[in-house]
Structures are given as structure tokens and as C-alpha cells.
């Protein structure tokens, strides 16, 4: 028994030393898009494991994040849209970290396989309510979406320009639930991160282009948005922030980025 206890204590102490208890080096502050939570969280974790530098993340929204960089309140701003010209003029610089592709999914038995962005928007705002209006069978369209605040919902609604006007039939709290529901209801349409879509549902082609890593990267699949790292063009990053920046834009981070459900830019 004593042996076990001493072994336990040794292991505890060892883990403590290895993880570097109390060795708080400089932290990297990031601030911005709530949708980037997952990818920045994953990157920050592995970066911290490698270097011991902590990465803080403040989920405030793209606009607030861009402003925070400009005012010097954080090292790296996170934006889930491209920078506007006036933001570029203010001396900010955007580096695309990844692309978030959103697949529009329907049931496998649904004959419809292509929609335009405009049609999708009209479906989600309740203007088109029957599949027959877009070339399908005569059934009412069941709109499946995500809960308010979800990054995927935010992305989908901002791309299709349907913010706050979608008339959902169901608001589900996870990508998995959306896919399961669409897979079980022949009249359903939903959206989900491309990375999580399996062959239980049919991803639609949008304007004739099927979603894939390739089409998302080259921009031909339009239901997507960039995840941008925002920095000041003229000022230099702090040493640890530069390290983090180099790390996340390097090839070795791309696996972590794809695991977080988005398409790495590099």
C-alpha cells in the first residue's frame, strides 16, 4: 500500500514538473470571431503544449476583434470575414488562416441536388416553402438550423444574407443532431460544417459546384468564409505572438486546423 502511495505521489510530482507548474511565460492574446472558438482553442492548446506559452482567446465577434488589434488591446485579432478596405487603410493586415465551408445538406431521397445561393436564402426566409418550387417532389420544406449564437448559423446566415429572418422548423444544438435529423426526414434541409458531413445525407451543389476542400480553397464554392488573422501591418508582433503566428500558419498546424472542421489555407 505504501509503495502504491509513494508511486502515486511521484507520478503526481513528475507530471507537475513536466507540465511546468507555475512557469507562466508571456501569453498571446487573441480577440474576435466567436466562430473561431474551436480552431483557435485547438491551436492554442497544442501551441501551449509545445512551447509553454499560453494563448488567451476572447470571443467578442469579428468587428470587436479587429478594433481590439487596432487599439493594441490584443496581439492577434480574429475575423471570420475579409477585412474591408477602410480597415486595410487603417494599417491592418489580414492573413487567411483557414476557410470555413458550410455544406447545404438534404435527405438522400431528395431528388433536388442543386440550388443557387439566392434560392437557399429564399427557402430559409420562408419565401419558398415547397420542394416542388425548386424542382423536387410536392412536400413542404422542413428547415433545420442551429441555435442562436452558433458559429455555423452565424456563417450560414451572413453568407446567404438572411440574418435574423430565417424561419426555422428546428433549432438544434449540434452539427450531429442536424445531420441525424436531415438524414431521417425526407423533406428536411440543413447546414453543417463540411468536415462533419458523412454519406448519411446529400450535400447540395451550390450554383453547380460541389463543396470540397478544393472548391472551398479556390473560392468557387460560395457558401464559405475565411478565418482571418488580423495584425498591424507596421508594428511588429511580440516575440511569443510572432511564434504563435508562425506556428498556426505553418504546415504542421494544418492537421489541427482540419480536425477543427475547417479547411486550412496553407
Amino acid at each position: 500500500m505504501k509503495k502504491i502511495i509513494s508511486l502515486f505521489v511521484t507520478v503526481m510530482l513528475l507530471t507537475c514538473t513536466l507540465t511546468g507548474c507555475g512557469g507562466s511565460k508571456e501569453a498571446v492574446a487573441t480577440d474576435g470571431s466567436t466562430s473561431m472558438n474551436k480552431v483557435i482553442g485547438a491551436l492554442g492548446e497544442s501551441f501551449e503544449a509545445d512551447t509553454g506559452i499560453t494563448v488567451t482567446y476572447n470571443a467578442t465577434g469579428s468587428g470587436a476583434g479587429i478594433q481590439a488589434v487596432q487599439e493594441g488591446r490584443c496581439d492577434i485579432g480574429l475575423s471570420s470575414r475579409n477585412l474591408k478596405t477602410e480597415e486595410l487603410e487603417k494599417g491592418l493586415e489580414g492573413t487567411v488562416l483557414a476557410y470555413d465551408g458550410i455544406a447545404i445538406i438534404v435527405n438522400l431521397n431528395n431528388p433536388v441536388s442543386d440550388l443557387t445561393v439566392e434560392m437557399i436564402a429564399r427557402i430559409y426566409t420562408g419565401e419558398i416553402t415547397n420542394w416542388s418550387e425548386v424542382g423536387g417532389s410536392d412536400t413542404e420544406i422542413v428547415l433545420i438550423g442551429r441555435e442562436a449564437g452558433s458559429g455555423t448559423r452565424d456563417g450560414f446566415e451572413s453568407i446567404t444574407d438572411t440574418e435574423d429572418v430565417c424561419v426555422y422548423r428546428q433549432e438544434l444544438t449540434s452539427t450531429g443532431d442536424v445531420i441525424t435529423t436531415v438524414a431521417s426526414n425526407p423533406a428536411a434541409i440543413g447546414y453543417a460544417s463540411l468536415a462533419s458531413v458523412k454519406d448519411t445525407v446529400k450535400p447540395l451543389t451550390v450554383d453547380g459546384i460541389a463543396p470540397s476542400e478544393q472548391t472551398i480553397k479556390d473560392g468557387s464554392y460560395v457558401v464559405q468564409r475565411p478565418f482571418v488573422l488580423v495584425t498591424k501591418a507596421d508594428a511588429e508582433l511580440s516575440e511569443s505572438a510572432q511564434k504563435f503566428f508562425d506556428y498556426v500558419t505553418s504546415g504542421e498546424a494544418s492537421e489541427i486546423i482540419s480536425n477543427a472542421g475547417v479547411v486550412p489555407a496553407n
Binding site: 470571443a59 442562436a148 435574423d164 426555422y168 422548423r169 428546428q170 444544438t173 426526414n185
Partner: protein, 304 residues
Amino acid sequence: MKRGLVLDDFERTRNRKPRFYEKVIHGIFLMLGLITVGCVLLITIYLIISGIPAIKEIDLINFLFGKEWASTAAEPKYGILPFILTSVYGTTGAILIGVPIGFFAAVYLSKIASQKLRSVIEAAVSLLAGIPSVVYGLVGMLVLVPAIRELFHVPDGASLLAAIVVLAVMILPNIIKVSITALDAVPKEYEDASLALGATPIETIFKVSVPAAKSGIAAAVVLGVGRAIGEAMAVMMVAGNVANMPSLFQSVRFLTTAVSGEMAYSSPGSLQRNALFSIALILFLFIMLINATLNFFLKRDKEK
């Protein structure tokens, strides 16, 4: 003489100073008891403190009777009437379905079933009570929701009805178990007397046993209400979660799911987060009310 000696012995044991470790153990038990009280107090105070600001800001009337909830819209609206009504309707529906089934099952198990059958069914009921709510939700989502869609020819089965059915099944074990205990506790003499007077067994059950156990059965119902109104996970998976005014085949959002659905995304200190706490406070008040009712029944039972 002997009697005096025994008493003497008794007195001596009684008056002996409690040993040190007894005191320590008393202290530990007291502390353990106080932990529970502390948790309740902490949660209550925390809920009240974090729930009040949003109610003040939104205005109590607008908050409770507003029909629209759009917390992330450009012009946010915080009316929780749809949630309150959904929770009330959903719970009522679950009780309407669950109580008759549970009650008659309990009567059967307590008074009519053979010992062997009773032990089998009771084991099944216990198992039903032990199934995690996420499993109820999953089965509801994969079986019940499509079934409702097919059966009633509605475009989508995720609805108040689906939630009611799931909740009704979930409260069954509570109702059955507590009712059985109440029915078992009815003195056998009552029933024997009734039978001796010429009443049939069924007459005896419904005119003697059930009335004698009625406060226990009422407690079972209240317990079921408490379970139904507080359930979040299972209903979240079958109810659709859109903040509509409740209607049987519409997608609805309960008080519980309103809180849990948005909590993860709301930023600390925002009106949205505070409003979620206010919803939790309202839910808490509902549950306090239910508990008070439960205590009332239990106390009345004891006084009898």
C-alpha cells in the same frame, strides 16, 4: 434492589461525558449536513443575484408576457411567455398521459400482481428510472419523431407532442415507485374489513386502499411534475427548440432548453446571459413551488 441497580447503570452511561472522538464525528456529520444547506443557499443566492438585473432591465411584464424571444437579433427581444407556456403545457401533457398509466400500474403491482410478476416488473421500472435522459432523447429523435411525422402527416415530427410523450415515459418510474410505496403502506386491516363486509377485491382497492393512500399518490404526481418540468436534455433533442408559442405539432422551446441552448454562446455580463439567468430563476421558482406542494402532501400524510 435489582431494578435500582439497572437504573443506576443506565444513568451512569447516560451521564458519561461523550468521548472526544464522538464529538469529532458529530462535528464531521454536522459539516456534511451543512454542505447540502450551503449548496442550496449558494445556488439560490447566486440565481437571484444574477437573475434580477435582466428582469429589471427588460421589465418584469415584458419579460414574463413578451411573446417573442430573439436574443441575438440586431434588435433583441426577450419575452419568455412561449417558454413558460410550453413548459406548463408540456408538463401537463406528460402528467395527463403518465399519471393514469403509472397509477394503474402501481395499483396492479401493489395489490393484484403475483409476487413473481411484481419483482420482474419492478426491476424493469427501476431500469427505466436509471436510463440517462440523453438516451431517452436519442430514441425519441430516431424513433418517435419520424413516427409522429408519418402518423400525423406533418412535415416534421419534432414537436410539443414528441416532448410530451418522452416526458410521460420519463416520469413513469417516479410515479409508479412512489405510488407503490404509498399503497403498500395501507394497513391490511382496512382491506380485510372491507372484504369481510362483502366488497369485491376491486371495490376494496378503489374505495379503501386508494383513498387511504391518496396523499402518497398525490406526492408521486407532484414528483413527476418536478421531473418533467426540470428535464432539459431529452426534450432538447425532440422538441425542435424554436421559440414558438406552443401548439401540439409545432416546434417549441422549454424553459430548461432556453437556458441550456444559448448559455454556451452568450458572453458573460451581456443582457443575453443575464436574461438566461432570469429564465433559470423563473424555472427555479416553479420548482420551489412544486417542492412546497410536495412537502404539503407529505406533511399531511405524516400527520394522519
